[in-house]
């Protein structure tokens, strides 16, 4: 009886193992097919001109110059706005804020905000920045919208990183007569920096991929110029890709594939950096 149960258990074990393996391979296969498809279509289009050219109605003369420039200026302002507010809010909530019902209410809401669909932020941005504050469909309106979108992510990441700093380190600092500010700035934040940086990079990589909120606030799909200031109109790489895929000519699909390759590489690079920092950090600080 016992040995029968045992062999049945072994069988279940095997069945489960191979089922799980099949599903994993299935997911991987889809990813590989996607990548092969994109790369086989788009790789030939990627050359120096592709990065240097403005968009054009001739597919083979179209480039991502304006999209990249728009994306970079958009990211620049997004980071300038979201980073200080997000980090300071995270530090305040975790290190200074008193535990109260109101605090936990805020905490839950910030976590919820991180999960709100991005198009909702687009609607908020459209109403608030574009219409009420008359910013128009400018870089700054887009940056503010994206900043709102990634701020909860930065706040949550900062809090988690700070929470992970062992209490004993704070005690050591306070025990030597350090003030709260000295302890926070010299011990807690440096110790949490790896986690905070990881969160920031992941937030930026999220911002790069966002299309929906920018479309809602009215980012242009065809921009034949480079934005020169925060009040200029703009486009970004995902929007440019979106534009190309919606064209009927097959040549533009190739452009879209090439744009996707660039976007993928940027995202992979950022995520890679995030993983590198995280691994390096956790090796360093171990208790």
């Amino acid at each position: 009886m016992n040995s029968k149960n045992y062999s049945r258990g072994k069988l279940t074990d095997k069945v489960f193992k191979y089922t799980a393996l099949t599903f994993t391979l299935f997911a991987l296969a889809i990813l590989v097919i996607l990548l092969v498809d994109i790369f086989s279509k788009g790789l030939a289009r990627i050359n120096w001109d592709f990065f240097r050219n403005l968009p054009s109605r001739h597919a083979n003369r179209s480039g991502i110059m304006t999209a990249m420039a728009g994306m970079l200026s958009l990211l620049f302002f997004t980071i300038i706005i979201a980073l200080p507010i997000g980090i300071l809010a995270g530090v305040y909530l975790q290190e200074y804020g008193k535990k109260s019902r109101f605090a936990s209410f805020i905490e839950i809401n910030i976590a919820n905000l991180a999960g709100v669909p991005s198009v909702i932020y687009g609607i908020l941005g459209l109403t608030l920045f574009v219409r009420i504050l008359h910013m128009g469909n400018s870089v700054i309106a887009g940056a503010l919208t994206l900043a709102l979108l990634i701020m909860p992510i930065i706040i949550v990441a900062t809090r988690e990183a700070i929470k992970a700093v062992p209490h004993s380190l704070r005690e050591a600092s306070y025990g030597m007569g350090a003030t709260k500010w000295q302890t926070t700035s010299r011990v807690v934040i440096p110790s949490a920096l790896g986690g905070i940086l990881t969160g920031i990079i992941l937030a930026i990589s999220r911002a790069i991929g966002e299309t929906a909120p920018l479309l809602v606030i009215g980012a242009l799909v065809y921009v034949p110029f480079i934005p020169e200031g925060p009040n200029d109109q703009f486009t970004t790489l995902p929007i440019q890709i979106f534009n190309w895929t919606s064209r009927p000519q097959a040549d533009f699909i190739i452009n879209a594939a090439a744009g996707i390759i660039v976007l993928l590489l940027i995202t992979f690079l950022l995520n890679g950096i995030a993983i590198y920092i995280r691994n390096k950090w956790y090796k360093k600080i171990k208790y």
Partner: protein
Amino acid sequence: MYKLEAKNANLWYGKKQALKDISIGIEENSVTAFIGPSGCGKSTLLRCFNRMNDLIEDTKIKGEFLLDKENIYTDMDIYELRKRVGMVFQKPNPFPKSIFDNVAYGLRIIGEKNKTVIKDKVELSLKHSALWDEVSGILNKSALSLSGGQQQRLCIARTLAIDPTVVLMDEPASALDPISSAKIEDLIYELKKEFTIVIVTHNMQQAARVSNRTAFFYLGELIEFDDTKKMFTNPQNERTQNYVTGRFG
């Protein structure tokens, strides 16, 4: 005259009373050991002397705590107090910084900018804590690369660097192996020439070896306080006797 003194000290964590009417005087340049079973209040009392209990929410304290006859809670600045009364914790807790920066931390937070002053003080403190010979060549390496025993001596050096007159030690050797533990004990023996040391320990032999006087606590009360020799050979209270002979605790 006592260096440190508690008079009718009571402390509550929320509703739970952790210290019950404790009065104790600690002499200068001596080692005083606090012993007793877990939860008896020995660490709590220790942490009153540099106000580390302030970090714990919902703590209520009554009674007087004196350092050189000055009231710790009313007559002096909390940051000033903690510079005069240093603390070494149970688990070594070096900052994730270099060995040098760890020891220099206390000087830097009081605004010392002179590099020579900092360098000399770091060296002196590391010599004081018997760590200099082991780390003099690797001062820029991470403190976390040291062994547990070395880390604990580094934490002691870090505390000594701010020139305290009292050093509180909360089970400083309990997370260490016997050899490292012995080194810490030797160090305590040396340090008492210049500092007043209060040590909480679970290790009875350790208390017997390093301390001049021993206080036995039980359920938040100070049961007996006397010369260490007498506490271990001829205690007056039956509970002390049972504890030091290992019959309970």
